[in-house]
Symmetry: C2
Subunit: 139 residues, 2 copies
C-alpha cells in the first residue's frame, strides 16, 4: 500500500497530467476558451455528433453539454443542425471559425509541450510514445 516502484509511476503519471492539463488550460484561456470548450472543439474537428454522443465523448451530462453548446453557438464556434433521421435529435458541428480555433489550439499545444519532449532523448521518444499508447489501449 505504500512505496512500491509502481507508486513512483503513479506519481509521475499524476504529475504529468497536472502539467499537461495546466498547459492546456492556459492555452485555452489565451484564446478565451475554457478547457472544456477547447476539448469540445477538438472533438468536433472530425465528427458531427448528436448532443448525447457529444456528452458521452466528453464524459459530461447532456444538460451540461446543452449549456456548453449554447455558449459556443452564441460565439459562432458551433452550429446546431436538426437531424434528418430523427426529429428529436440535434447534431452539433463546428463552424469555420470553430475549426480554425481548434486547429490553432492544437498547434499551440504542440509548441507548448515541445520543451517537455526536449527533455527526453530523441531515440527514446518513440519508446515512450509506444508505452503510453499501450497504456491507453488497455483500459
Amino acid at each position: 500500500m505504500t512505496d512500491s516502484p509502481d507508486d513512483a509511476l503513479v506519481d509521475a503519471l499524476v504529475q504529468t497530467s497536472f502539467v499537461v492539463t495546466g498547459a492546456l488550460t492556459r492555452i485555452a484561456a489565451e484564446r478565451d476558451l475554457s478547457l472544456t470548450q477547447l476539448r469540445m472543439l477538438g472533438v468536433l474537428r472530425d465528427r458531427r455528433p448528436r448532443m448525447a454522443q457529444l456528452a458521452a465523448l466528453l464524459g459530461l451530462d447532456k444538460s451540461t453539454v446543452s449549456g456548453l453548446v449554447e455558449r459556443a453557438e452564441r460565439r459562432g464556434l458551433v452550429r446546431r443542425v436538426p437531424s434528418a433521421d430523427d426529429a428529436r435529435a440535434v447534431e452539433v458541428e463546428a463552424t469555420a471559425e470553430g475549426l480554425a480555433l481548434a486547429r490553432a489550439g492544437a498547434a499551440d499545444v504542440r509548441s507548448a509541450l515541445q520543451p517537455l519532449l526536449g527533455a527526453v532523448d530523441a531515440e527514446r521518444r518513440s519508446a515512450l510514445t509506444a508505452e503510453l499508447e499501450r497504456m491507453l489501449s488497455g483500459r
Copy 2:
C-alpha cells in the same frame, strides 16, 4: 507543423492526461470532493503554506483559494492558523479528517491507475517512470 513523430507523443501525453484527470475527478467525487479540493488536500499532506503560497502551488488566484479554503474549513477538512511572524498572513493546515481523506484519496488513485500500469511490461515500468520524471524535471 503536421505529422512528426513528436506529434504522436504530444497526442499520447494529452490523452493520458485526460484519462488520468478523469480518474482523479471520479475518485474525488466518490468522496464528495472536487478535483481541486483533492489536489489541495494532497498539497497539505506535507506542508502548511500561507494562502499566497497555496495559491502558487495550485496555480490559482489568491481569491479563488480564499473560497476553496472557506468551503473546506466549513467541512472541517482544513484550518486557518494566523501566522506568528506576520499579522497579515494566514497559514493553512489540514485537520486530522482532511489528512485521512487525503491519504484515502491517494490510495484510491493508486488502485484506480493499477489497470493502466498493468498494460506496460513490469521491466519497462521503471524506464517509463524515469522518462516521465525526466520530462517533469526539465520544465
